[in-house]
């Protein structure tokens, strides 16, 4: 679809890029599953997105959204959490934006080796690891106003192209 093409709903979509979906949720854990459903359904619009990758995105987005809700809860922020989902030809990018103070990815401790007894004590801290492992790109940027987590998953076409070149 051409972004400049005239359309009847121009007023509504004017601020958005083509292929962009924006979801705002109350900062409550009950809404995490809704975000997963919407993002997975959006990803299915991309015909060349493998179902395994949609699963990866579902888990990564769940981590980011849960963290965002916890950040709002921790800092007593009542604002809503914004999830932007950009569908491009060869990738899907999701940005989870919260307004609960900055999150320092460098402060997440390295995971101990799985064979070490300490590993069993790590009930937390796996979320960032999962985002990094499951998304093709993951970026956490913290400002004084909050945190943006950007997660990108490539289509099969792009992965093939990247591995060829």
């Amino acid at each position: 679809m051409n972004a400049d093409a005239p359309s009847g709903d121009e007023m509504i979509v004017a601020d958005f890029r083509p292929g962009e979906i924006v979801l705002e949720i109350p900062a409550r854990t009950e809404y995490v599953s809704l975000v997963r459903v919407v993002v997975a359904a959006a990803a299915e619009i991309e015909p060349d997105m493998a179902s395994e990758r949609i699963e990866d995105l579902r888990v990564a987005v769940s981590e980011a959204t849960t963290n965002a809700i916890e950040a709002h809860d921790l800092h007593g922020v009542s604002d809503r959490i914004r999830i932007q989902c950009n569908l491009a030809d060869d990738e899907i990018a999701v940005v989870v934006h919260d307004q609960g103070m900055g999150f320092e990815p460098d402060e997440v401790p390295e995971l101990p080796e799985p064979d070490s007894p300490e590993r069993l004590l790590h009930e937390g801290g796996l979320g960032v690891h999962l985002m990094q492992m499951l998304a093709d790109e993951s970026e956490i940027s913290a400002t004084d106003h909050g945190t943006d987590v950007r997660l990108v998953v490539y289509s099969s076409k792009r992965r093939r192209r990247d591995s060829d070149g």
Partner: protein, 106 residues
């Protein structure tokens, strides 16, 4: 045996944690966790499963986890937890190896 269904995330996870604590309180610490009916797990759910293993082991018990779905298993593998847990594709296999290990222990 604990049979779990639904989504093991920040909403569903705490219910499982309660159920595990109830089992352990009643003296059952050789646990089989059947995740056949679970269609989603994230780090919160993994944390609850790790907690269950810790509680069981504190009492000299253990935990076997039934994970037939490859996409669910993948989440364990990405965190290297397939090296920490006994993951089994079926309940039969999990309970079969429980029996086998009882024989070995005696």
């Amino acid at each position: 045996m604990l049979t779990v269904a639904g989504e093991l995330d920040v909403v569903g996870g705490p219910d499982l944690r309660q159920a595990v604590m109830a089992e352990v309180r009643e003296g059952r610490h050789r646990l089989v966790l059947d995740l056949t009916g679970v269609d989603f797990i994230d780090s919160f759910g993994l944390g609850v499963v790790i907690g269950a293993l810790k509680r069981a082991r504190l009492l000299d018990g253990d935990l076997r986890v039934v994970v037939p779905e490859p996409r669910l298993r993948r989440v364990f593998e990405v965190c290297d937890l397939d090296r920490v847990f006994d993951l089994h594709p079926t309940v039969d296999e999990a309970t079969g190896s429980a029996a086998a290990s009882t024989v070995r222990d005696s």
